[in-house]
């Protein structure tokens, strides 16, 4: 149903990018004047409020006050006159996505936050999304949103069907993007905000370069922040052009982004493995710069991605990755467990028993000891049988 709905929605909206320019509407003014200008716009904001409430109620929004405050602070620095009107939330969703609702709620996927390497890159994205709100881009595209949702169901990026006008606008912004004119406007004005707030504008094209690389490497086909390759390349070229003569900001504050989001980065990686996003994990960890952003045992997750992908040669790649993880972090229990199970499947029962014993010794009260004990028993039994020449 999801694929069908998304495909139909995309088919219906295929004419949009680059189609007739939207009517120009005055941007929101900020402060107390930040309000819908018409009854119709009021309805759209009300729908967006309901969608935001559903996202929160259904457990899709990350409940981490420290991280949420961090991203909120960046948004407030970019859009000081809209403080209290722009609310940034972190969505418990993987994938490279972010979207702004017409009412000022902005959502960033864990997946995309895990990709940023510094606060300026986050600011580049928030600057862009914030302009979609301030310049009322989704409301400007309203007529399109109303008339093209023939079936109405939009699965978009939040994981389950959410219906109604606000959901259509959400899908529009996150699946196909707005018209070329509006996207350029968001880039250009967002860039100005980035500079005015004292961020390093040279990071903006770097972010898009990283996204392009990862998308190409992982063959990502699902809807995401910028739906098509050319659009992503457009963003990169545009920011490159804008930042051509940019210089580093004077007296930049120490950047705490990588340290602050270390936990989220790891959680996102674990989630991606558990959701069978193997290509994405492999593409991410094969980049030396990215690999270094994770704890020393991160090759365990690379091993897991290879193992679960299970293509020709992957078993060997997985085993090599587990060994790397153990070399870098000998006390990391899970790598021993994973290696033990690989060895068991490969018929190295002595090796399997050794690794599983090591795992149980290190993991102590690990919740998954039931499997480990079962496999250890099997490994020992087969090792002993082999030893007796059976």
């Amino acid at each position: 149903m999801r694929r069908l709905a998304a495909a139909l929605f995309l088919a219906a909206t295929a004419a949009w990018p680059g189609s007739a320019p939207a009517q120009a509407l005055a941007p929101l003014k900020g402060g107390a004047a930040t309000a819908p200008a018409s009854e119709e716009e009021r309805r759209v904001w009300a729908q967006a409020d309901e969608l935001a409430a559903t996202l929160a109620k259904s457990g899709r929004v990350l409940d981490d006050p420290a991280l949420t405050a961090y991203v909120q602070r960046v948004a407030d620095r970019l859009f000081p006159e809209f403080k209290g009107h722009i609310h940034v939330h972190i969505l418990k969703a993987q994938g490279l996505n972010a979207f702004a609702l017409p009412n000022g709620d902005i959502y960033l996927n864990e997946g995309i936050l895990a990709r940023f390497r510094n606060e300026s890159q986050l600011a580049a994205l928030l600057g862009h999304e914030g302009i979609h709100f301030v310049d009322r881009h989704s409301y400007q595209s309203l007529e399109n949103a109303k008339s093209t949702a023939a079936l109405g169901t939009v699965l978009a990026v939040v994981g389950t069907p959410v219906v109604g006008l606000a959901a259509n606008l959400l899908a529009m912004s996150s699946i196909t993007g707005y018209s070329r004119e509006l996207e350029s406007e968001a880039d250009n004005l967002g860039y100005k905000r980035l500079v005015a707030a004292g961020y390093d504008p040279r990071e903006a094209p770097k972010l898009f370069k990283l996204l392009m690389t990862e998308v190409a490497a992982s063959g990502e086909k699902e809807p995401f922040f910028f739906a098509t390759h050319p659009a992503l390349k457009d963003r990169y070229d545009n920011y490159l052009r804008l930042s051509k003569n940019a210089t580093a900001p004077k007296d930049p504050a120490p950047d705490r982004y990588l340290a602050t989001f270390a936990g989220l980065r790891l959680a996102s990686l674990k989630a991606e493995v558990s959701m069978a996003r193997y290509r994405q994990v492999i593409a991410l960890l094969k980049e030396p710069e990215r690999h270094g952003d994770y704890p020393p045992y991160v090759d365990y997750y690379l091993g897991e991605a290879y193992r679960q992908r299970g293509e020709k040669g992957d078993a060997e790649l997985a085993k090599a990755a587990y060994l790397e993880a153990i070399a870098a972090a000998p006390e990391f229990a899970l790598a021993h467990r994973a290696l033990g199970m690989q060895l068991l499947k490969a018929g190295d029962y002595g090796g399997a028993a050794r690794e599983l014993e090591r795992y149980l010794a290190l993991a102590g009260h690990a919740a998954d000891h039931a499997y480990a004990r079962m496999y250890l028993e099997e490994a020992r039994k087969r090792r002993d049988e082999r030893g007796k020449g059976k």
Binding site: K57, A93, G159, Q308
Partner: protein, 181 residues
């Protein structure tokens, strides 16, 4: 209330094509006599789905026991992956979790994941939790096992509030009665 509304209409839409029967006392056989299982007495079975056993006491959204059997090559349609008989039970469980996430519950929490003897063979037992759009929690138990080229799943679904704990014993008895071949 959104779930009520969606279910109201779906029910009206689909209900006219569904047929039901009360469960009796004897064990029920799966397709090709591949398994037998004793269902809770005086529950309602959805008989219009011949490829699976689905029963409830008060309505499928309140408590649902389901038994399915698919060819191993078709075990994980969302992932487009087969269930390989070289897979360890823990690996089968991993794939089932990924399949459930891909099927519409990406934020599910795994409460339990342990090996289990299902119908005499080693499989897995998962217990998961997720919220609907109204923020109501549901729990599910999924027990899976591979046997002779087929993937068997025995599952239980109920709202966490009141229904899950009350009717879990019925599921556990059903599971205990499940026999392969």
């Amino acid at each position: 209330m959104k779930r009520l509304l969606a279910l109201l209409a779906l029910a009206a839409l689909l209900g006219g094509c569904a047929t039901y029967a009360l469960t009796g006392t004897g064990p029920v056989a799966g397709p090709d006599k591949s398994y037998s299982v004793a269902l809770p007495r005086n529950w309602v079975r959805l008989t219009s789905m011949s490829d699976r056993v689905v029963v409830t006491r008060d309505g499928f959204a309140l408590q649902r026991i389901m038994i399915t059997r698919v060819a191993a090559k078709d075990a994980f349609p969302k992932l487009k992956k087969p269930a390989d008989d070289k897979l360890l039970a823990s690996e089968l469980a991993e794939l089932q979790i990924a399949e459930l996430k891909a099927a519409g519950a990406p934020n599910l929490t795994v409460l339990e994941n342990v090996p289990a003897r299902i119908g005499g063979a080693i499989g897995f037992r998962l217990r998961i939790r997720f919220l609907n759009n109204d923020g109501l929690a549901f729990e599910q138990v999924w027990c899976g096992v591979l046997d002779k080229g087929y993937y068997y799943l025995i599952s239980f679904h109920a709202p966490e509030l009141y229904y899950f704990d009350k009717y879990l014993p019925d599921f556990d008895r059903t599971l205990a009665s499940f026999r392969l071949g």
